[in-house]
């Protein structure tokens, strides 16, 4: 299965600033997925990122707040813009398994605290 390197692992940011999270995959993948996990909660899908096209955002998430880049088949970034304390969460990227239905592989997550 794929190996994902996600960074930063954690950060403490001032409100009003932006943070860009990076995910590097050790193999080429068509789709990458970005999730948010608020404290004590489950994972919520933010968007799906395909290489060469605009990301597809889920209800409640917009591109201005969470711009995503997908410049090639092994890399993606998620930016959390104009942060507020409500954005304090763990952000995770993931990719599909080698074959559809063989499970997702997740990055180790970015724990973001906005003060």
């Amino acid at each position: 299965s794929a190996v994902i390197s996600q960074k930063p692992s954690r950060d403490i940011c001032q409100r009003g600033t932006s943070l860009t999270i990076q995910c590097q995959v050790d193999s080429q993948v068509t789709m990458m997925f970005w999730y948010r996990q608020q404290p004590g909660q489950s994972l919520t899908l933010i968007a799906t990122a395909n290489q060469g096209s605009e990301a597809t955002y889920e209800s409640g998430f917009v591109i201005d707040k969470f711009p995503i880049s997908r410049p090639n088949l092994t890399f993606s970034t998620l930016t959390v813009s104009n942060m507020s304390p409500e954005d304090s969460s763990i952000y995770l990227c993931s990719v599909n398994g080698a074959r559809r239905g063989y499970g997702y592989t997740f990055g180790s997550g970015t724990r973001l605290t906005v003060v």
Binding site: S1, I4, M31, S42, L43, T56, L92, G101, G107, G109
Partner: protein, 113 residues
């Protein structure tokens, strides 16, 4: 919301006991997966069960699926302190031509040594 429900929300057992977690979902699925998350880190895939399967085993893990009831259970036998983690089920949904996984609310398992 399509999010699945898991129960119990929290479970505390003694080492050596069995732990059972349940997951219910709302729509038809192709497969259901279980994941483990240690202390807010990344998720680890445990097991996948397809919609045409009723039971699956992997080591100390046993998963059942009842598509008529839209429910699944994860049994961890002979639990160990290292099994302490949050466990999530995830179901796949075809939306606009893309399969996406929707995660359940999770069960926090604590195994006491």
């Amino acid at each position: 919301s399509q999010q699945g429900e898991e129960d119990p929300q929290a479970l505390s057992i003694q080492e050596g006991e069995n732990a059972t977690m349940n997951c219910s979902y709302k729509t038809s699925i192709n497969n259901l997966q279980w994941y483990r998350q240690n202390s807010g880190r990344g998720l680890v895939h445990l097991i996948l069960i397809r919609s045409n399967e009723r039971e699956k085993h992997s080591g100390r893990l046993r998963v059942t699926l009842d598509t008529s009831k839209k429910s699944s259970s994860l049994l961890i036998t002979a639990s160990r302190a290292a099994d302490t983690a949050s466990y999530f089920c995830a179901t796949d949904h075809l939306t606009s031509g893309t399969y996406k996984y929707i995660f359940g609310t999770g069960t926090r398992l604590k195994v006491l040594a």
